[in-house]
Subunit: 423 residues, 2 copies
């Protein structure tokens, strides 16, 4: 039977932020692409299944990237001495404009998808550019690679350089055409409505996009409260709103459907109730928030409150697609928040951050991100044998922590999505 | 002629924190292990030299690690959910105690030296453990690898677990014997007097070590103002001192000789004048300060004041030996310091942090860390061709920045120390 097997290895997954299960030399059984369960010994009733032997390797759920700009991947790790708005204008927008050329998009998105495939990420919610045709190039490459991502054609019709500024009507028409094409030609990849952020979208465009999301039953993704300069700008643009989130709500782009808001660095004290009450997925992007000097985000608050806070690589504000790196970056940021901002907010521990990257992020995509029965069998296999040490008898969680700190960007050994092996 | 050649490649080095020189497809000429100069075209008078062709690769000065615990390398990336004092007692001290066994030391230091050799570091100032014999094992391995490091047998005679606590007289005798053995058997590796930190050294031991440093004309290394808990502890132990630094001064362990103080996170406002006036080398260890929740260090203050502030990996508070990673970590920490502590302290830029890791760190070891004429030819060659991108015509500094963010831990392609090729 297809997508049905028993995988042997050192298995780790979380059930809650504080509860993890680690089974050394255990068995993960997958039937028809879904998890049956994890056992120390393979139950007799599964003894006829194909065996995938990953003995001695780490077997973890695939991770979900809640925020990544595929169109910025080519300049990851460059020009990091600049702050958000300058960096957008000097480097990001000119580079995104190049994606009007489908040939360029093919080459650039090819590199992105190759690297995403080899990363620990199995699902991602992606920003492309304003260009519907080249965004379809990205969708087709993800579909071919077998990665079930949400991909957004970006909308921008104000405060943007001419070469990247859409006419409102055209932006709406292109979005509809893009949605039709993705849904009719892709089975894994799905569209997501993607207003870039309030400063680059007119009220009319925002309202039209909200209507599209409702009519087509689509999720929405955007940016929220990333940077102090951006916050001031939104205040000027939306003087009647009580917060940045409230401005989205007034435009119909807040809740009532699956919604990701990236960053939320400055939401505490202004709009944290709205994030919690309206079940928004928060994409916490620690590396980007540091690189762009945005600030220290308080993940602890949202996690303890039971909010849907997952992780985002936010390439190219972040430099790497590896969510294992985002996990350790989130821990580091939480330590500095505790030390320098609020000592009542204790640092994230490894298990909590892993839960954010796997289970909470995964929940945006369905029953994804853990090995509890019925979940999609998104599986990543990591080989930690290339990291020599004299320390023996490490537990599975310790080995995973070590791998996340030392080799987060190494290509994964194997990867499956919904039980289908891609690597 | 030995250690004499003309190396061709994309060359980068700094002359000051703000002045860098980048020569694409240039020539670095080395005669008898020392830099003659860097030229765009090879001068006729050097045309007879052996050519080392690194065309298309990055050629940079070797980096100097001002603070690293070789004896903690085996547990890098583990148990990062803990703060300094707990982490020391639970994991660090028990592991360091294992080095009483020379066979264990041989295995563990072998892994450390192998990885150091392949890192961008050419020189380091290293903490071993209290065990003189196994510290000699480390010295011999570094000597064989060709890495001219300072290595300290650590001194601890109070507030330490029994298995790692020396009797004062024995500590002094072992230190003298160690110094004699290193100086008589090694030509590259040199001893450095290494009281762990004030809490673990009695006044008598400190004074004796100060005398040894003076009589043998040796440098000193220790820890300073890393963590708030540690600061309180030193205050209790040294009630008559006006600061942690002042406590070292009262014991004869401050200045008047080459001295490294690691961390200095909480020196600003207490002892920054002493650091500046007494020409102390500050080992800024950004990754460790974050991992151990110590705090955000203000490198900008010391750099602008002209202090000797270099970088330290501080393995295993830090997770990696790569100072290219320390460079980007220092930038990140400086951004968060600017954002959350003091907006008059602008973030470090890449060039400044590179200068700290190369030239300022190198100055502890002599004329080391740049390609100005007369400097030791410590050379590291990096291959950035394995990082695909569609962005063309990047400058040499941009490529180096990108490499530092994306692949800091990749093994270097080639390495020379004082003109002798090790890789």
């Amino acid at each position: 039977m297809e997508r049905t097997f028993a995988a042997r290895g050192d298995i780790y997954y979380t059930e809650s932020p504080s509860v993890a299960r680690a089974v050394r030399d255990g068995w993960l059984v997958v039937v028809d692409g879904k998890v049956e369960g994890v056992w120390q010994r393979l139950p007799e009733r599964y003894s006829h299944l194909d065996v995938k032997d990953f003995s001695g390797k780490l077997v973890i759920p695939g991770l979900s990237d809640l925020h990544v700009h595929a169109s910025q991947y080519q300049f990851r790790g460059l020009w990091m001495d600049e702050e958000l708005i300058q960096w957008l204008n000097t480097h990001t927008f000119p580079e995104e404009a190049r994606y009007r050329d489908e040939a360029y998009a093919g080459k650039a998105y090819g590199i992105f998808v190759d690297d995403l495939l080899r990363s620990p990420t199995t699902r991602a919610s992606i920003f492309a550019t304003i260009h519907a045709d080249s965004t379809m190039v990205l969708c087709r490459k993800l579909e071919e690679a077998g990665l079930p991502c949400f991909v957004g054609k970006v909308n921008m019709d104000r405060n943007s350089p001419d070469i990247l500024c859409e006419e409102t009507g055209q932006s709406i028409r292109d979005t509809l055409a893009y949605i039709d094409e993705v849904t009719s030609t892709c089975s894994l990849v799905r569209p997501v409505v993607t207003p870039r952020f309030i400063p680059s979208c007119t009220d009319g465009l925002c309202r039209a996009l909200a209507t599209i999301a409702d009519e087509r039953n689509l999720p929405v993704q955007s940016h929220l409260s990333e940077n102090l300069g951006e916050l001031e700008w939104v205040k000027e643009l939306c003087p009647d709103s009580t917060s940045y989130a409230d401005a989205y709500r007034a435009l119909g782009l807040w809740g009532g459907r699956r919604t990701i808001m990236a960053h939320c660095v400055y939401s505490l004290g202004h709009e944290e109730e709205m994030l919690a009450d309206d079940d928004i997925w928060i994409a916490h992007c620690p590396d980007s928030n540091t690189n762009l000097s945005s600030g220290l985000m308080c993940a602890r608050y949202y996690l303890d409150r039971g909010c849907r806070i997952g992780l985002g690589s936010d390439v190219a504000g972040g430099t790497t697609l590896s969510l294992l790196r985002s996990i350790t970056d989130a821990i580091k940021v939480s330590k500095m928040y505790w030390r320098h901002v609020d000592q009542s907010m204790k640092p994230l521990c490894f298990r909590e951050a892993f839960h954010m990257a796997s289970v909470i992020g995964g929940s945006f995509f369905g029953d994804v991100g853990t090995f509890l029965p019925g979940y999609e069998a998104d599986i990543v296999v990591l080989d930690d044998s290339t990291l020599p040490t004299t320390i023996e008898n490490l537990g599975v969680e310790e080995r995973l922590e070590r791998y996340a700190y030392l080799r987060p960007e190494a290509p994964v050994a194997h990867k499956a999505v919904a039980g289908r092996w891609l690597l």
